[in-house]
């Protein structure tokens, strides 16, 4: 579980996140949606400790993340763009992360088969396509059995078959009571995967509730239309 209280993040004079209060619960997939520049990635990076908070607190599984790094043992993260040292192979990166996490409890065989990665893991990253790197990122995010999974635009670079496998994987993890957080511009994916939606605009949460309640509220059957309406309504007239 992730609890965020009064989170504020400024870059210089620009306020990117304003007074964010939200809880991401176990066993649920929460989608953070919003237009470009609304603060989605900054919110995720705040949870990961990649950006330092200007104010407020973040707790992961009941413990404050301030000045801590061990909490990231319980997080699997898949970044928006996957870029790795170009002369290393997937296997080398995986064993590096394995030794950082001091973990023997990992399961990458199934994921490697699903994404057909066995041969690709032997090649240096400079010879791999963007999609394959994205699959390796998926592997890294899921292989260490983390309690919390954070996915930043996960399906953007995946082919339809991998994307479909990926969604099955997310739903399976949800069954295992994981806390899953994802951002995406693809509303079909969000509708398929998510239980809850956090709608961010200009660094503020404008809506937080279940996907169902948003659809009912906006009287729509498609999430894309409901979110589009939310976006246009929230913008200054």
């Amino acid at each position: 579980m992730i609890t965020i209280k009064n989170l504020q993040k400024n870059f210089g004079k620009v306020s990117v996140l304003k007074n964010i209060n939200v809880t991401f619960e176990e066993g649920k997939v929460t989608a953070v949606v919003g237009p470009n520049g609304s603060g989605k990635t900054t919110l995720i990076k705040s949870i990961l400790g990649l950006v330092k908070l200007s104010a407020g607190t973040i707790e992961v599984n009941g413990k404050s993340i301030a000045d801590d790094f061990a909490y990231r043992n319980s997080i699997g993260y898949m970044p928006q763009t996957a870029r790795y040292p170009e002369n290393l192979t997937g296997n080398e990166i995986l064993s590096l992360i394995r030794s950082i996490r001091h973990l023997n409890d990992y399961d990458d065989d199934e994921l490697m088969k699903i994404f057909n990665l066995e041969k690709e893991m032997e090649k240096p990253f400079k010879n791999l396509s963007g999609g394959t790197k994205q699959k390796i990122s998926t592997l890294i995010a899921f292989a260490f059995n983390p309690k919390i999974i954070i996915l930043d635009e996960p399906t953007a670079g995946l082919d339809p078959v991998s994307s479909s496998y990926f969604k099955d994987l997310v739903l399976k993890q949800k069954e295992l009571k994981k806390t899953i957080l994802l951002t995406s511009h693809l509303m079909n994916d969000v509708q398929e995967l998510s239980d809850e939606i956090v709608f961010l605009l200009d660094g503020e949460i404008k809506f937080h509730g279940s996907v169902q309640s948003l659809l009912e509220d906006k009287n729509e059957t498609k999430l894309e239309r409901a979110v589009a309406e939310l976006m246009t309504r929230s913008l200054p007239q």
């Binding site: 870059f11 990076k45 990961l48 400790g49 990649l50 950006v51 330092k52 790094f69 061990a70 909490y71 990231r72 043992n73 997080i75 993260y77 970044p79 763009t81 996957a82 870029r83 790795y84 040292p85 170009e86 002369n87 290393l88 080398e92 990166i93 590096l96 992360i97 030794s99 950082i100 996490r101 240096p124 990122s137 890294i140 954070i150």
Partner: protein, 262 residues
């Protein structure tokens, strides 16, 4: 420390497989090979090697370090999402970049000496040049990391890196000469020592000159250093100042890295 070692191990693997490092090693090998083949005088070969080392190493180290750091940005983000502290990661990346480049230089530079059996001719000189090359690599990679940590824009960062190299390697001597000319009526010895310590490339040169006992023949600062400190003390002082040139930029960049937003 264990985390630093892990990162270092993989960073070294990554850097050492880069074509840059192979090219860099080959460059020093062929320069040394050429000098020993075509120049009969070992001392002249040493001085030519010194001039190449103090120009090329700072340039390659500062540019390679900047490009490497900017290209590693997403990887750094990915690593920071793992349970690792920033200090260990930064140390691992710094050493993982500096060690392979230094090793590339050390191998390319040393091979011709062994091939031509020149190591025993001037063993001290060989060691000083080797040490100077390694120190300059660490210094300019530390400087490049300081620039890259503070400046997020890659184009600006590379511009600053090249500018710093130009000032220290090319323009500095001109500025010193201008100052000597402008203040010729005043005693300048101490200011000259301070100015030399402020430039790691000059310091590297001094280190070499002290060793070869030819400081007086090689320009004003060399003569001043020798007069003030004598050969051994001058050598120790310039060596310590070079070490400070690694530690100070590394300390500040590491401190900034710890609180940087990615």
């Amino acid at each position: 420390m264990k985390l630093v070692k892990e990162i270092l191990f993989y960073e070294i693997h990554n850097t050492i497989r880069s074509k840059w490092v192979a090219f860099y090693t080959a460059f020093f090998f062929f320069v040394g090979y050429g000098l020993f083949t075509f120049s009969g005088d070992v001392s002249k070969a040493y001085i030519s090697l010194m001039n190449i080392i103090i120009l090329i190493i700072p340039l390659v180290a500062i540019i390679f370090g900047s490009i490497y750091f900017y290209n590693s940005r997403e990887f750094i983000e990915m690593m920071l999402s793992q349970p690792i502290d920033r200090k260990s990661l930064y140390r691992g990346i710094f050493l993982g970049t500096s060690i392979p480049i230094s090793a590339g230089f050390a191998v390319g530079f040393s091979l011709p000496f062994f091939l031509f059996g020149k190591v025993n001719d001037q063993f001290g000189g060989f060691l000083v040049l080797l040490l100077m090359g390694i120190l300059l690599t660490f210094i300019f990679i530390a400087l490049s990391f300081l620039i890259s940590v503070r400046q997020d824009d890659k184009a600006k960062g590379l511009g600053i890196a090249i500018f710093i190299w130009l000032v220290l390697a090319v323009a500095y001597d001109g500025i010193v000469l201008l100052l000597i000319y402008l203040f010729q009526e005043y005693p300048l010895e101490q200011s000259m020592i301070a100015l030399t310590i402020l430039n790691p490339i000059d310091l590297g040169r001094i280190l070499f000159l002290m060793k070869f006992n030819i400081a007086a023949l090689m320009g004003y600062t060399g003569a001043v250093f020798q007069k003030f400190f004598g050969d051994s003390l001058g050598f120790i002082i310039s060596f310590l100042a070079l070490a400070a040139w690694i530690i100070i930029p590394f300390f500040f960049s590491s401190r900034y890295f710890k609180r940087k937003d990615f």
